[in-house]
């Protein structure tokens, strides 16, 4: 429909504008004041160093993680037909954390086809958690989504206690590294840590973008989706693998940054409606802006200290989650 298409193009242009502004503006926010003149005029200046080597990578990392976590949340919400389904509530993030925690605890250091062991282990952990939740849902067909979410929460708690166990058994250095990593943070230096998860994230995001009509159909119910010609089980497995892959990849970099996948897709649905033809792109862009914005806030809110961004998103997300639970349904 030309009118709908026009509306969607308008939304996308606005969001791309917001995204670009954030990309330019957020690197200037931080304890150390830097100016545009400094950055542009003298590449060897202190400001320029901070901008290119510290702030910009950090903003980009926030954008990557934010986009991925939002898209994963949106995907889970459509699949499980529940707005509270997120990488967190389904145990995916804790699964990834457990995988990564295990890698640190074991003191391993390896990489496979250019992907670090930490990322691989995080992916495997995410996959394990998703398989459990998916297995439960297959085991009892027609299980209410609330029960599924609770089983995800239970898996999440179970994995968290395994992480605690790992920490308990670790030496002090490893233990501290696990703890700091669990807080979730984007304090990276340089671009290597962004380039590594990027291919995995792009694969996941592309699959989900291509499956945007499938997400629409899944929200109308699995029976109807199958009746319209969707191979429902195959589609769900593809979506879960893609989401697990990209969540694993970004959690390996940033730690389990909570609630992004809950807040951003919900705001997008409120603003743009239920159609995933626009929601997928919108959630990725909004998620990118949201998390890099939260991280900019984290850099200044307790200056001169810098907070891990995971603390900010959790402080925002907790009340938001309660509000979503208690709000009257329309």
């Amino acid at each position: 429909m030309s009118k709908d298409t026009k509306k969607n193009i308008f939304i996308l242009v606005m969001l791309l504008g917001l995204f670009t502004l954030s990309l330019i503006f957020f690197p200037f926010i931080g304890i150390e004041r830097i100016t545009l003149g400094e950055v542009l005029s003298d590449p060897s200046s202190r400001g320029s160093e901070i901008f290119w080597k510290l702030r910009l990578p950090r903003v980009l990392a926030g954008m990557l993680c934010g986009g991925v976590l939002s898209a994963a949340g949106l995907t889970f919400q459509a699949m499980f037909r529940n707005p509270l389904a997120t990488p967190f509530t389904l145990g995916t993030a804790s699964g990834a954390s457990l995988g990564a925690g295990f890698y640190i605890w074991a003191g391993w250091s390896f990489s496979l086809a250019g992907i670090s062991g930490l990322t691989l282990m995080a992916f495997l952990g995410a996959l394990a958690a998703l398989s459990l939740v998916y297995g439960f849902s297959r085991w009892r067909r027609g299980m209410p989504s609330e029960v599924m979410l609770l089983s995800g929460v239970a898996i999440s708690i179970f994995f968290s206690s395994l992480i605690l166990l790992l920490q308990y058994m670790s030496n002090q250095a490893h233990s501290l590294r696990i703890l700091r990593w669990l807080m979730g943070g984007l304090e990276i230096v340089g671009y290597r840590q962004i380039l590594e998860p990027l291919p995995l994230a792009l694969v996941g995001l592309t699959v989900i973008f291509l499956k945007r009509l499938d997400l629409n159909l899944l929200t109308t119910g699995e029976d109807l989706a199958a009746g319209r010609g969707m191979n429902v089980n195959q589609t769900k497995i593809i979506l879960l693998l893609s989401a697990g892959l990209m969540v694993g990849a970004v959690v390996a970099v940033a730690g389990p940054v909570a609630f992004v996948g809950l807040i951003v897709p919900h705001i997008c649905r409120l603003l743009f409606g239920p159609d995933h033809r626009i929601l997928v792109s919108a959630s990725i862009l909004m998620g990118a802006v949201f998390l890099s914005g939260c991280d900019a806030l984290a850099r200044i809110v307790l200056a001169p200290a810098e907070l891990p961004v995971g603390i900010i998103t959790s402080l925002l997300g907790g009340p938001f989650f309660i509000w979503m639970l208690l709000r009257p349904r329309v």
Partner: protein
């Protein structure tokens, strides 16, 4: 006319429970069937097995001239469309957005909707009388309007066979007659083969060519409306007696529960 839908010795079990047992059933192109029977007789299960919403089962299901197992899901959806019950749908999509999803089976892997898809949507909205509701959210519609939306979404699939699960349940008499008129139009003018699950025996006898009676997962009756409307047949299907009387104007046999 050739047979385009058939079950041969088809059984469906869920765990230890048998939902359908040795079903034999043949639909010819252009027929209008009703499936009747008490709750739990396996009527919806049979529809869902044909659309492969429920996977597996023993025996053979045929669609066109091929077994169901030889179809990919998208190809199957171009043969058969499915209309579920429309009780209180909470979809936030507009009617138009909802109906266009029915084009899924015609889309490539890149999920791009073409002008042709949108033209089909407008055509079925017009055919079902839903054009004026195209901008409304599905969740805000009445039961009858939601049912028409579901039928429009099934029609846009372009399949020659439509399976409907109690299309008039939960509707008031006026909306029921609207749905019946719509289905009659699809059957007569568009030549769609219809198979409807219903609890309304009189409607089944009035509007349909053939009737399948199921009880406890088995076929207990296959035949014409005239053959159905006898005390013995109805007792066999429902396990109780009905009062039969002639329609005051047409003289056709009617039942009172």
């Amino acid at each position: 006319m050739e047979i385009i839908l058939a079950a041969r010795g088809f059984s469906y079990r869920l765990g230890k429970k048998t939902l359908l047992e040795e079903i034999d059933f043949e639909v010819r192109a252009g027929e209008r069937w009703a499936i009747i029977g008490p709750n739990g007789a396996g009527k919806s299960t049979l529809l869902k097995a044909f659309c492969r919403i429920l996977v597996s089962g023993e025996g053979l299901l045929l669609v066109g001239d091929k077994p169901l197992s030889q179809y990919k899901q998208k190809a199957l959806a171009r043969w058969i469309s499915y209309v579920p019950q429309a009780s209180g749908r909470d979809d936030l999509f507009t009617v138009r957005e909802f109906v266009v999803m029915g084009r899924y089976a015609h889309l490539s892997a890149f999920s791009v909707l073409t002008r042709r898809d949108w033209e089909e949507v407008e055509r079925v909205l017009d055919l079902t009388g839903m054009t004026d509701f195209a901008h409304r959210r599905v969740s805000t519609l009445s039961g009858g309007e939601q049912q028409k939306t579901l039928i429009a979404a099934a029609l846009v699939q372009g399949a020659n066979i439509m399976l409907l699960d109690e299309p008039t349940a939960f509707l008031d008499p006026y909306q029921q007659s609207q749905i019946h008129d719509l289905l009659e139009t699809l059957h007569q003018d568009a030549g769609v083969t219809l198979v409807e699950v219903t609890h309304d025996i009189n409607q089944a006898a009035l509007g349909h060519d053939r009737i399948l009676g199921l009880r406890a997962g088995r076929v207990v009756f296959t035949g014409s409306p005239e053959e159905l409307m006898t005390g013995g047949v109805l007792r066999e299907i429902y396990g109780r007696s009905f009062k039969l009387f002639p329609h005051p104007e047409t003289g056709r046999t009617m039942v009172l529960p």
